[in-house]
Symmetry: C2
Subunit: 457 residues, 2 copies
């Protein structure tokens, strides 16, 4: 059997960095959410790009699927081995390879986590801004085209990956991009691989753009009477050119959950949390201008968190929103939705979603990175109750359909994985077949993360 031949050879070559143990394989069949399914036949732990190329050649020769694995924090089951095969766990390729402070770049292996990356950078005065919340790996974040709270200022992984080393399905190693800040030399392969969810190649090295740690930071939180008021404040802020570093929305149920979790007493109405980065005078001016705009939109309870500890408390609350929401229904699983719309349509998208959820039997607080038009409803379900799951899926479907209807996208930042494949045709139409053409020419035997991203034939 070709599978057995490949695994025997990989076991021989990788020794302790190869496993077929059932208890280990089972870990790779899990995900953080309700999405599950598929188990690899083996897991391998490469340490070098050449290891990955050897694994790919072996898999290609024997027709064995290969699926990359970072930290397993994906929310749509991206790294589930739907067709078995070999899961390539990058945890032993987690090194910072080089930092170029003058060029504000660094080169990392894909298995380095976001928090470790920023620890390694601390002494340089630079940081990597993309922050999806979870302590994901940089390879996983690039593969998913992740973003998070700071994308409104610093961009997503699309904007912050300058170049890649990639192992292709046949074991070829290629490099995309250069260390120059821009280029008009050829097809933008870096952008093609970023967001390709391991279906076109396995990233083995990433060149990342870094940013200067801001000299001054201020943050604020404020309450609004309605969702529309909060969103109007976001639009006015963007249009005034005030460079927000973060602007987060929390709806009433999210605020209630945070109050309960952290023993706080915020008024239970829609809130915005903002952060400004810049010079001391700059952030002062930005905060004041934002406060004026918020007040024009009827905001109350504007609180400016200038001190580091106040700011830390504020963002801890935001980062804890997920466990705070889960705590609303002990034992429940989260079905985390993720859509993104043009900002002019954001208020109606959120309000209609809010109304949909209110009419359903489920709890589903809404929060989002509203500077990007991106929001999530965290639907709390008993995943073993088919009726509840059906309701949750229906709510999620309606969010996606609404986002498309409003000119938006089926996924702002969580990606496609298993969970969103069924919406790809609706978003991309004939362009979806172009994606499939590219997939077929680069991975003709469909070995790279099969079952994902393109139409399944």
């Amino acid at each position: 059997m070709p599978l057995e031949a490949a695994l025997t050879e990989l076991a021989h070559r990788l020794g302790s960095r190869f496993s077929r143990e059932a208890s280990i394989l089972a870990q790779y069949g899990q995900s953080e959410t309700h999405v599950t399914g598929g188990l690899p036949d083996a897991v391998v732990y490469p340490q070098t790009s050449d290891d990955v190329a050897m694994i790919a050649r072996m898999c290609a020769k024997n027709g064995v699927p290969m699926v990359g694995w970072g930290a397993g924090t994906s929310l749509e089951g991206h790294a589930l081995a739907l067709k078995g095969g070999v899961t390539v766990d990058f945890s032993q390729m987690n090194q910072m390879l080089a930092i170029y402070p003058e060029d504000m770049l660094c080169v990392v292996q894909p298995g380095i986590t976001r928090e470790r990356l920023n620890e390694e950078l601390r002494a340089t005065g630079l940081f990597f801004p993309v922050d999806p919340g979870a302590n994901a790996t940089l390879g996983g974040m690039a593969a998913t085209r992740a973003s998070g709270t700071t994308a409104v200022r610093y961009g997503t992984m699309r904007d912050n990956v300058l170049g890649l080393e990639v192992v292709l399905a046949d074991g070829r190693i290629i490099r995309t991009g250069t260390s120059a800040p821009k280029s008009s030399a050829g097809y933008d392969l870096t952008a093609l691989f970023v967001g390709s969810e391991g279906t076109l190649g396995l990233m083995t090295e990433l060149t990342l753009r870094l940013h200067g740690q801001p000299e001054a930071v201020s943050a604020a939180v404020c309450a609004f009477a309605t969702i529309a008021d909060a969103v109007d404040c976001v639009i006015a802020t963007i249009q005034s050119g005030i460079p927000m570093a973060r602007i987060e929305f929390l709806d009433e149920p999210t605020v209630a959950a945070c109050n309960a979790w952290a023993a706080m007493a915020m008024p239970e109405t829609p809130h915005l949390m903002v952060e400004f980065h810049g010079s001391p005078a700059g952030v002062r001016e930005q905060t004041e201008r934002f406060a004026d705009l918020a007040s024009e939109m009827g905001s109350t309870g504007f609180e400016w968190a200038k001190a580091t500890e106040d700011r830390a408390k504020l963002w801890k609350m935001r980062h804890d929103a997920y466990p705070a929401i889960l705590a609303l229904r002990p034992g429940a699983t989260a079905l985390v939705t993720d859509v993104c719309v043009p900002i002019s349509r954001l208020a109606e998208a959120v309000e209609e979603t809010r109304a949909d959820i209110a009419e359903s039997p489920l709890m589903g607080p809404i929060l989002g990175h509203v500077g990007d038009g991106n929001f999530h409803a965290i639907l709390l379900v008993d995943k073993d109750d088919p009726a509840e799951m059906a309701v949750a899926r229906h709510l999620s479907n309606r969010m996606v359909e609404r986002a498309l209807h409003l000119g938006g996208t089926i996924s702002g930042e969580h990606g496609i994985g298993c969970g969103k494949l069924r919406y790809m045709a609706a978003e991309h139409g004939a362009a979806w077949e172009v994606m499939a053409q590219i997939k077929r020419v680069l991975d003709p035997a469909n070995l790279l993360n099969p079952g994902k991203m393109v139409r399944q034939t």
Copy 2:
């Protein structure tokens, strides 16, 4: 003959929007620079996406090449019909289709020019920032992944095209991207087509990101003793997080040319020209901080142009640098080079290029968008003198080799066209074949701008 069949049918369908007149075709065999070669067999002027799709189907059926044409301002002969066929001139698809002020987006046809676009936007308080100097079309700018003086702040076409409508080689019409500010749904086809120089499809509609016209603008010019001092000032400015809107470098010969052209009396040493955008207080602070940094690097003659007319005079001088340089040698043709390196290597790249040119018999002033590590030497040649052309090509080769050696790219913003194809293997290695695979699967008969971008077999 299939070519004749296609042209007869196109003439029939397009009427006056089809031409085979020799005097007209000859215009499409020219370019702004020394790069020439190839003539189309016909030129067509589509007015709608359906026209373009019909043209593509007709060409596909008969194996006829098709080459897009914007304003003809490309510097590397991108739009030359090397294999004949049909040139698709987009001058009659030049409409602003929609403006969405709240979303800071607009939708345009590819033939609209940069200046017309910004005129149409003026009343909205928004503008499109990418400025390659020439009054290029947006389709051409996207196809070339153009940038220019403002990329250091606002990004290149990569960053400012949110979505596309594209006609593929077989006449299929696809849409890439959505109107949401970000997405993680599928392969980034927008980024794949931007910079593909008409070799993967013909863009028929572009969704563009707009930016707020800055409330306040200030500009300054300052002189440095050496190239290294000027570049060190750029690096220090970037690292301080001062958000420059433009930062342009002019070497001594460029300053001398500008002095002669505009009867100015700048000291003939390396100069930086900078511009800041923001709130009145913000630009004041930025300008002052920049002035301090410049002075630390030994800058002299710092002049702050706060008044609109002073600023206009300053940037007119910069925009006139090209004719000013051409005027150094009446009758000469420009061979405009274009490389981009990591900013830490910029001083040595410029200095070594300066020394190379000084040792040659040619004049070649250097200027560049140094915030991006991007610079140009404008080599003045008698294009009918083979010996001079050989010297110029040798200088250009050395710049390219040096850029690659320093971790940079063979083209910062002018693209590949005819002029840089021979360097693609050196920059991309095995990744160049991946580009060819993508080209072959999307354009199997090699009809879209043949002879460009990928390895010629």
